[in-house]
Point group: C2
Chain length 341, copies 2
């Protein structure tokens, strides 16, 4: 173990617009040595998620930005390889938030032990992890679809969107997905069983979406913004709910105003006339519900009712390029970097 170095991906500079490989820097450091009460983790899987783009900016947010020269933030599955902590033994598998690196020290806080028999380890970063919990909590706590109501979600083949639509169906609602390209659409319709799926690249996208929602839209689970919002918004029914968990289309650059009526005024007019709810959230605020989620969603996964797809990239050095692809919708399924077995 003395030969092993800690490989880390650092934030080299803040991106303007879409990140480039130059915004990241790979560094190697000696492995840290756990002190009393600490343990050393070897990272097996690193989750890559759109929210990380926000951490690269120096803007006020609910989370503080990654410092220049700091390790990129992220959720991880890890194995304990040295322990001076009474609750953890070498070989234990844990969910941690260790960031983009091969090894990390921990004082045992904010770890959750994982049972590799219960579900594949990587699912703790996807369908049974933060993205799945985001879908479950946002849909059921904010969206609250009634049976028969219509739920629309974009990035429907992605980690969050795929769970939103399937959970909507499990709860008796109609799920309409939006995805980019024939392969993803086929997967959403055929493998995930959404009631309908629309390709946002289609020239008549908005018209097709309206056709797929003959009774309007009761819940729009917002994770992209931009032209998808523009297509969904006019379809919202009275008392529709819009949980907002992401706006991937505007992370790299804010759209500029176009001549015509102010879009905010148009939206607020409908918010008032239709008694709409627009509600931003992060899964963290629903943390008390995570045990209920793990029980319910774990059962659905075991029964095959909540399916998922992973897009696994090998090697931490490939994380920056994979992340840049993710921001452009080039992944297919939950994007995870595999660092070790």
């Amino acid at each position: 173990m003395t030969d092993t170095l800690n490989q880390r991906v650092l934030l080299a500079s803040r991106p303007s617009g879409l990140p480039t490989p130059e915004n990241f820097r790979i560094a190697h450091e000696p492995l840290p040595v756990p002190g009393e009460g600490q343990l050393l983790l070897q990272i097996l899987y690193l989750s890559l998620d759109p929210y990380m783009r926000g951490r690269m900016d120096d803007a006020k947010s609910y989370a503080k930005p990654v410092d220049i020269g700091g390790v990129m933030e992220g959720g991880t599955v890890a194995r304990v390889i040295a322990s001076r902590h009474p609750d953890y033994a070498v070989g234990d598998l844990v969910l941690s938030h260790s960031g983009w690196q091969s090894h990390a020290l921990s004082d045992g806080d904010n770890l959750r032990k994982l049972d590799p028999q219960a579900a594949p380890l990587s699912t703790a970063l996807g369908v049974l992890g933060m993205p799945g919990f985001t879908a479950w909590a946002g849909l059921l706590q904010i969206g609250r679809p009634a049976p028969g109501q219509t739920v629309v979600v974009a990035a429907a083949s992605g980690a969050v969107g795929s769970a939103v639509g399937q959970i909507a169906r499990i709860k008796g609602a109609r799920a309409v997905g939006i995805a980019g390209g024939a392969d993803k659409c086929a997967y959403v319709r055929e493998e995930l069983g959404f009631d309908a799926v629309i390709d946002h690249r289609a020239p008549d996208f908005a018209a097709r979406l309206a056709e797929a929602c003959p009774d309007g839209v009761d819940v729009y689970f917002e994770n992209v913004g931009g032209k998808v919002w523009d297509a969904v918004f006019p379809l919202l029914n009275d008392f529709a709910r819009v949980p907002v968990c992401g706006l991937i289309s505007q992370y790299n650059a804010l759209p500029q105003a176009e001549p015509g009526p102010d879009r905010l005024a148009l939206v607020m007019r409908d918010v008032l006339k239709k008694s709409l709810t627009v509600r931003g959230f992060i899964q963290r605020e629903f943390l008390a519900l995570r045990p209920a989620f793990l029980e319910e969603a774990g059962q659905w996964v075991r029964e095959g009712r909540l399916r998922y797809r992973e897009d696994i990239v090998e090697g931490l050095e490939n994380a920056p390029a994979a992340f840049i692809d993710l921001l452009q919708g080039r992944n297919f399924g939950k994007l995870v970097v595999k660092l070790a077995d």
Copy 2:
């Protein structure tokens, strides 16, 4: 009674922008005669409210528009002057929704008997009526201010705003009002007891508002939109709630986009980053809570803890001009037309 005519204000044409007197027409018709199960009402008070501007347009809304040639819609306090309905006797006083006219037939549905001893009759259109209920329900069901939190409301000397701030204070929150002109500001601060009040006509309005909200804003009760929204929005705290009951600044004309970042994108970014809730509503959806409101607010009014001011205009023929003034913020207190004693 045979000499009496029913005086009515009809919608003559749909306004473009601010209504003008020409959009209204006064007509006189023979008094209707109640059939079996009906009663004839003489209107004593007519409520004038900003929402009526929306009914003059032919746009999709939660309520259908007034037809051209139809009687303008509105809440009223009336006396029963003839009855063939078992539940109502001549002389009974009722809250009805009879519109801009001196007399109306009713089949007894959607009437509420009023006790003139309990509170002045006109309060059934104001502090103990739709505006008071809008304030109470929107603030307590959607805004939910915790003790010590900051509530901001515009049109703070008006029927809704004045109740919002006072109820916020009764519930232990801090109330910051926005009003136009020194008289209204003095009234809000001194008579209504708001913690602070800002004149939106001040050139440094936004800076003064920020100063009056040193701990940010937890609830923005939105009834105006426009530049007030622009000043309040940056002050919103994480998890702030924005009940939207009106947008008086944009009823007459939608603002046009200005060059720069799209305002909707900016707002949605904060909705996401701050986990904000923006929620349009009409009081009607909370109708089941009206008895609780009447009990609680009635008590506050009797105790002098919930104060109100009325702006009473005499004569139905003056309703159009008073309504046009209302849309420009020229009233001071709840605007009511008195038709008869």
